[in-house]
């Protein structure tokens, strides 16, 4: 952005700009963001009050999640919040989360070997002294695994997209509803295409990332208070979060999850009619494999196989992401994962060697 910033010159000149190129010594109390982002922006007051975040990544190659127009609108909205500060201070309190486990990344045992600062002469890509943001998620998973603690659902599915609730926002806008899925929590909450989301749980919103931030801290079963602008009028809405709503998301691309399960299985749930034809219940495990890595092929899996049981479970797993969740919650490093597949009408027990 600094280098191709001519089109943002009028915006950037209104800010003091800071660029951080590695995670080695970042302040984890203030800077809580999705560690899988390749580009994350915070807008703040000099006293480190956060006005908002910008930067979203819904999948491995979703470059459309961030746009020039969306960034500009977020920056202008941050300037508006700056003009309203400190009168709006109370509404911004939630923009910083609860105290993190560690104040800086190097306090994680698995990250202690990184230096506090990277030698700038070693600033080339993937230099071993340069801690990446995604290393933080891996460190958190490793710590929980070493302590034999369960992996919280919110840690496995961090910074959920509002799409998990049927609410798709337009990346070209600040926070405008682009689609509402039929039968979704968003539809039940009365959201409509074109609604402009102004605040969620009292926090002013400047971007999709701000919505993700509120969702990141939300509990299953909670009802979030929303303020929307529709046709020039401000209205109150509510968004109820059903149990397990995060589990609709995709975590297979998140490098941190590879601690539990190597990213070499691609499979999708089979449609309801096919389940019925196969004599499987509506909530039965039924994942059709359409892509395999060499290790799984060597273990006997084939493209076209139907996964019907994972670690003895025959229900409640409806995606590879949910399979990873089952692995994270129930296995130890180096375990063998028992998987039953259906091939040519016969069940076949196979095993996956876990990392």
């Amino acid at each position: 952005m600094a280098r191709r910033g001519k089109e943002f010159a009028d915006v950037l000149e209104k800010f003091v700009c800071i660029r951080i190129v590695q995670a080695n010594s970042i302040d984890l109390t203030t800077f809580q963001f999705d560690p899988m982002l390749t580009w994350a922006v915070f807008f703040l007051h000099a006293d480190r009050t956060v006005y908002g975040r910008y930067g979203t990544r819904s999948g491995p190659n979703r470059s459309g999640d961030v746009t020039d127009a969306g960034f500009r609108k977020a920056a202008l909205a941050a300037l508006e919040l700056h003009r309203g500060y400190p009168a709006n201070r109370e509404s911004l309190r939630g923009k910083i989360g609860p105290a993190p486990r560690f104040k800086t990344p190097r306090e994680y045992p698995s990250l202690a070997h990184f230096p506090a600062e990277v030698d700038v002469r070693a600033s080339e890509r993937n230099h071993p002294s340069c801690m990446h943001c995604h290393d933080l998620q891996i460190a958190e998973f490793n710590l929980l695994r070493a302590a034999k603690e369960p992996i919280p659902t919110g840690t496995l599915w961090p910074f959920p997209m509002p799409d998990a609730l049927g609410l798709s926002l337009d990346p070209e806008e600040r926070c405008t509803v682009k689609r509402v899925a039929s039968g979704s929590a968003a539809e039940h909450g009365g959201f409509q295409v074109g609604d402009e989301l102004l605040a969620l749980e009292g926090q002013p919103l400047i971007s999709v990332a701000d919505v993700q931030w509120v969702l990141h801290g939300a509990k299953d079963g909670a009802t979030l208070a929303a303020k929307v602008r529709r046709g020039g009028t401000e209205e109150s809405r509510s968004l109820s979060l059903p149990q397990g709503w995060r589990r609709n998301g995709d975590i297979t691309w998140r490098q941190g999850t590879w601690v539990f399960f190597r990213p070499d299985l691609r499979a999708d749930p089979v449609p309801a009619e096919e389940r019925k034809r196969l004599g499987l219940g509506a909530d039965a495990v039924a994942l059709r494999i359409h892509g395999l890595g060499a290790a799984l092929e060597a273990a006997g899996f084939r493209t076209g196989d139907l996964v019907v049981a994972v670690a003895g479970r025959r229900s409640g797993i409806d995606s590879v992401s949910q399979l990873i969740e089952a692995v994270a919650q129930t296995t130890r490093p180096g375990d063998k994962l028992a998987v039953t597949i259906l091939r040519d009408g016969k069940e076949l027990p196979l095993e996956i060697a876990l990392p």
Binding site: L12, K14, V16, F43
Partner: protein, 63 residues
């Protein structure tokens, strides 16, 4: 305009002489838009306090 040309040239020369942060040099961010603090948030926040401007802080790895 011509009257101001020497002043503009001098300002241009001063801008050229401003030392680059070593990291800025390493990243080849030789002509960034705006004034950037590289890997030094404390300096950035101090400037924001002094100027009354808000802060835009970017986390971005080396490309």
């Amino acid at each position: 305009m011509i009257r101001f040309a020497p002043v503009l040239l001098l300002l241009g020369a001063l801008a050229q002489d401003k030392p680059l942060h070593p990291l800025q040099e390493a990243l080849s961010d030789l002509d960034p838009e705006g004034e950037w603090h590289y890997n030094n948030p404390d300096a950035g926040f101090a400037e924001a306090k002094a100027t009354g401007k808000p802060v835009l802080l970017v986390f971005r790895c080396t490309p």
